[in-house]
């Protein structure tokens, strides 16, 4: 049983492949997963005025406006000022929000600052606010997978905007397989991997068409990365490191190589892929 719905601004697909369970059991389980994603969206969407994250950002803007009219920054560092502003609104934050913010902070440290949810200040917005979208997706998929397991569902996958958690076997009783999309042609697959219960996440840039592909200059020194797929212990781990690795450009795949339990497949603008040393083991 498989279904796709548009939630959190992206298509989310759930397939439950429990051959021996009644259909109603599978349908209920899938409904619970979709409802969960809706509730995450209500809390974390920066596009919903009433969401908890929007309220936090409003407070941050107010705090920043306040310090600005006080006559400029009085805090010794920008980080401390932001932390202070966050602490002021901390009271009343949900457990989920605290967990996600702590995860974001942890990821920032682990990736030498390449992962950062703080947005730059803009005109009329002295504090750019925070947007944890880069981590919420993986976090939500992981939690949704746990909801299914608690119900006794063992064979399933959940995919949201290209990030994937698989469990058990597919409807044919085989290992789930995942295709890595060709960044230059969304209808093509360039690699097939078997995650075997591990998480998969892809981070990439947008609006890259075939015009970027330059087969005449494959030796170009700056090999810009257009997409990086990371396989990690679970989808949350894969997602947060994929976001950071993409921000690192060509160095991203090398960063993943240094981590234990992670593999990556990075594709540059010339269509040349660079992979971690044990990546190919996932293709068998």
């Amino acid at each position: 049983m498989k279904e796709t719905r548009l939630i959190m601004g992206m298509p989310i697909t759930v397939e439950v492949a429990e051959q021996k369970s009644p259909e109603a059991f599978c349908a209920d389980a899938m409904e619970e997963v979709f409802s969960y994603f809706v509730s995450v969206d209500e809390r974390f969407s920066t596009y919903k005025e009433t969401s908890e994250i929007s309220k936090i950002n409003q407070s941050l803007h107010e705090q920043a406006s306040f310090t600005k009219v006080l006559g400029g920054p009085r805090f010794p560092s920008e980080t401390l000022r932001q932390t202070f502003a966050q602490e002021l609104v901390r009271f009343g934050l949900s457990e989920d929000m605290l967990e996600v913010l702590a995860l974001a902070e942890k990821t920032k440290k682990e990736t030498a600052g390449y992962f950062d949810i703080h947005l730059p200040a803009q005109a009329g917005k002295p504090d750019g606010g925070i947007d944890p979208s880069g981590i919420v997706k993986g976090w939500a998929i992981k939690n949704a997978a746990e909801l299914l397991k608690e119900r006794g569902v063992e064979n399933f996958y959940i995919e949201a905007g290209g990030d994937i958690q698989t469990s058990g076997m597919n409807a044919e009783g085989n290992e789930w397989n995942v295709g890595i999309r060709n960044p230059f042609n969304k209808n093509e697959i360039v690699k097939v991997i078997y995650p075997r219960g591990r998480g998969v996440a892809t981070s990439g840039s947008y609006e890259r068409g075939n015009h970027i592909y330059n087969p005449l200059a494959p030796e170009e020194s700056l090999r810009e990365v257009v997409s990086i797929t990371v396989i990690g212990p679970d989808v949350l781990e894969a997602d947060r490191f994929a976001t950071a690795a993409f921000a690192m450009g060509q160095k991203g795949v090398e960063f993943i190589e240094t981590l234990g339990g992670f593999e990556a497949y990075s594709i540059d603008k010339n269509g040349i892929a660079t992979m971690t040393s044990k990546f190919l083991e996932l293709t068998q």
């Binding site: 601004g9 992206m10 697909t13 920066t46 919903k48 005025e49 950002n57 409003q58 107010e62 306040f66 009219v69 006080l70 006559g71 009085r74 805090f75 401390l80 932390t83 202070f84 602490e87 702590a102 950062d116 949810i117 947005l119 803009q122 917005k125 979208s133 995919e159 905007g161 290209g162 990030d163 994937i164 789930w176 397989n177 995942v178 295709g179 890595i180 060709n182 093509e188 697959i189 360039v190 690699k191 097939v192 892809t202 990439g204 947008y206 609006e207 700056l222 810009e224 976001t243 921000a247 690192m248 450009g249 160095k251 240094t258 269509g271 040349i272 892929a273 660079t274 971690t276 040393s277």
Partner: protein, 158 residues
């Protein structure tokens, strides 16, 4: 770990307050003089671009547009920057949507210097024909685009 975290929060909170209080007392006149300003600054919601705008392109009834070019406000495509569109209307119909601002991967601006790691295996990507259960690829959040498009269309309304 939790105790440590709570301890850290308290320290930061107290430290931050102390600094703030110090700044207050050192220049009391400035504080008083500008507090009114801060109030008015905080009571203008909707100035944050892309945040809190729940409108969708569907909120606008089609075929009610004036001819011209309309620029939408900036929508967020975090963490890769912003998205902003310009809509061109001719004979009451949308004829063109241009991306004035498109999300940029930091990889575009960060030139990575010399490699210090062992050279990893590389290959030219090739299309695979095998059937797969699931596809992993970078997808764009549609909301930033929708926000900008929506505000451009609202301006175009008669």
């Amino acid at each position: 770990m939790k105790k440590f975290l709570i301890g850290g929060i308290i320290v930061v909170l107290l430290g931050g307050y102390a600094l703030w209080a110090a700044s207050r007392t050192s220049q009391p006149t400035t504080v008083t003089g500008n507090q009114t300003g801060s109030v008015s600054a905080t009571t203008t919601p909707g100035t944050g671009v892309g945040i809190g705008d729940t409108s969708k392109p569907g909120d606008v009834t089609p075929a009610q547009y004036k001819d011209g070019a309309y620029t939408g406000k900036v929508g967020s495509a975090a963490p890769y920057g912003n998205v902003q569109v310009q809509v061109t209307v001719a004979s009451g119909k949308i004829t063109k949507i241009d991306l004035l601002q498109k999300p940029q991967g930091p990889g575009e601006t960060n030139e990575i210097a010399a490699r210090s790691f062992p050279i990893l295996v590389q290959e030219a990507i090739t299309t695979q024909n095998s059937h797969v259960n699931i596809v992993s690829g970078a997808t764009q959040n549609v909301e930033g685009f929708n926000t900008s498009l929506s505000s451009a269309l609202q301006q175009a309304q008669i």
